[in-house]
């Protein structure tokens, strides 16, 4: 369990994180979203003990990572795939960390295999790596110590389509095995596909936090009938919001049962009655971050 509680971080007079609180639960993938500069990486760096918070705490299983012995066995971290010594081979990078953590000798080869780096690639110096290869090496590094939690900052960045799908499956399997995953990304479709929970952050403040299902489900109903005009009149008279849909039919705040009763009373024949379509993560993202986005985006 990753717990961020009232985290505030200031650089001089600028407040980068402002009372950020959320949790990432075991067995679940938590997507961490926000515009550029929102504070995602900063939150993760504080969590990993690499930056000091001005106030508040960031803990894993109730302990600050700085107080955890051999923290690589508790949390696997990928903060920046390009932060590797250019003169070391990928295998050497992993070997150093495996030794430090005291892992069995076979672990390095197993992780290289897991992320799909070939032996020849693993023996090349990282200065020759493509972005996606660096990202794969970073993932291998995060998984190396068989940790209870993963903290991944934009891990899908640079991965090819097969790599993205592979990572989605990997994170799913890892969480299903009881692991905690905190994952930041700008690839909203990917996050929507894999995240059980979402945290949205903008300008250092949490904008929304909840399960993906709750956040993306839109309240209300969509209905089609032989006389939409009469039905709309009845719903409005009863105090419900009604809006015509682009492709015919109505969208309303009323429940399916309420729509059915009003249709019965007004003797209107229903053709189609269903829960409103989910808004989609992209819509949610733009709606919530409208105030903190860098560009004007027509939502």
């Amino acid at each position: 369990m990753i717990e961020i509680a009232h985290l505030t971080k200031r650089y001089g007079s600028t407040t980068v994180l402002d009372d950020v609180s959320f949790t990432a639960a075991p067995g679940r993938v938590t997507g961490f979203l926000g515009p550029n500069g929102a504070g995602k990486s900063t939150t993760m760096r504080v969590l990993c003990g690499l930056a000091t918070a001005s106030s508040g705490t960031a803990t894993v299983a109730g302990r600050r990572l700085r107080d955890v012995p051999n923290p690589g066995r508790t949390v696997g971290v990928l903060l920046d795939a390009s932060a590797q010594h250019a003169g070391r081979s990928g295998r050497e990078v992993l070997t150093l960390s495996a030794r430090l953590m005291g892992l069995a000798p076979g672990r390095v080869a197993a992780c290289l295999d897991l992320v799909g780096l070939t032996a020849a690639e693993a023996d090349a110096r990282t200065r020759t790596y493509s972005l996606g290869m660096r990202q794969r090496l970073g993932l291998a590094h995060a998984l190396l110590g068989e940790p209870d939690a993963l903290v991944l900052d934009e891990p899908a960045n640079g991965l090819d389509p097969a790599g993205i799908r592979w990572m989605r499956d990997l994170l799913r399997a890892y969480a299903d095995g009881g692991g905690t995953v905190l994952l930041s990304s700008h690839l909203l479709r990917e996050v929507e596909a894999v995240a059980d929970d979402l945290v949205l952050i903008g300008r250092g403040r949490v904008l929304a936090h909840g399960t993906t299902a709750d956040l993306l489900s839109a309240p209300g109903t969509e209905v089609r009938s032989l006389d939409d005009g009469a039905l709309a009149g009845a719903l409005i008279a009863a105090g419900h919001d009604v809006r015509p849909l682009d492709d015919g039919g109505l969208s309303t705040s009323a429940s399916a049962e309420a729509v059915g009763r009003h249709a019965l009373d007004a003797r209107v024949v229903l053709l189609d009655l269903r829960p409103a379509r989910s808004a989609g993560l992209e819509d949610l993202f733009f709606t919530l971050t409208a105030g903190s986005a860098r560009e004007e985006v027509a939502a």
Partner: protein, 260 residues
Amino acid sequence: MSAATLTPPGTAAPARAGVPWTRLVGVELRKQVDTRAGRWLLALVVLVDVALVALYLWAADEAPGWSALTEASSAGQLLLLPLIGVLAATSEWSQRTALTTFALEPRRTRVHGAKAAAGIVLALGITVATLAVAAVATLVGGALHDGAGSWSLDGALLGGLALALVLLVLQGLGFGLALLSTPAAIVAYLALPTVWSLVSALVPALRDPADWLDMSGPLTGLMSGSLTGDGWAQLGTSTLLWVGVPLAVGLWRTARRDVA
């Protein structure tokens, strides 16, 4: 993806012992020799040693002794051993591997202690290599000059060499940690003591205190095993300034600094 390697959490070793310091030293030692830059530096130190010993041998009128030949290489070590410390400190930040290193061992001062120990181990290795080079040179000198050079090697010389290399590595580490930039640290440890000597030579009032704050004099004495009582005291005060201060500043600066 193979299921065997993606171990579900919780099945890993239940007892989470900390990272033993010796293991940390081992890893830091490996980091200092697993890159071309690191290996070139070590090779350079040994090459300079060989060159200096050869030069001394060439200039000698009679067969030189083992200890004289060993001493001949100390000027190179004075210049180059701190580089081992500098690179150990700065490469983590210039290559941004500090992000990984301190996520795996958040006790940063402990990591820096391990870097110092690893640097000292390397410097010891270099000293052994120097002794070997000097021994070969002693044999060659004997053959060249008809008459074997002395094989006596006193404890003061060996002890002095060992202490000097510890101080030099720590000095480099201190400057590296304090400045976190390889060129800046190299310029600083080479130039600052020299500038200090120049200034004190120009300003008569500084001449007396200068002896107490100039490290190269007592260090050279230490490396030749000829340090006297006053020399030891001067070594102590100058070490405090040129090793102690940068090390303290560097450890303090890096202990809580944000890693990005």
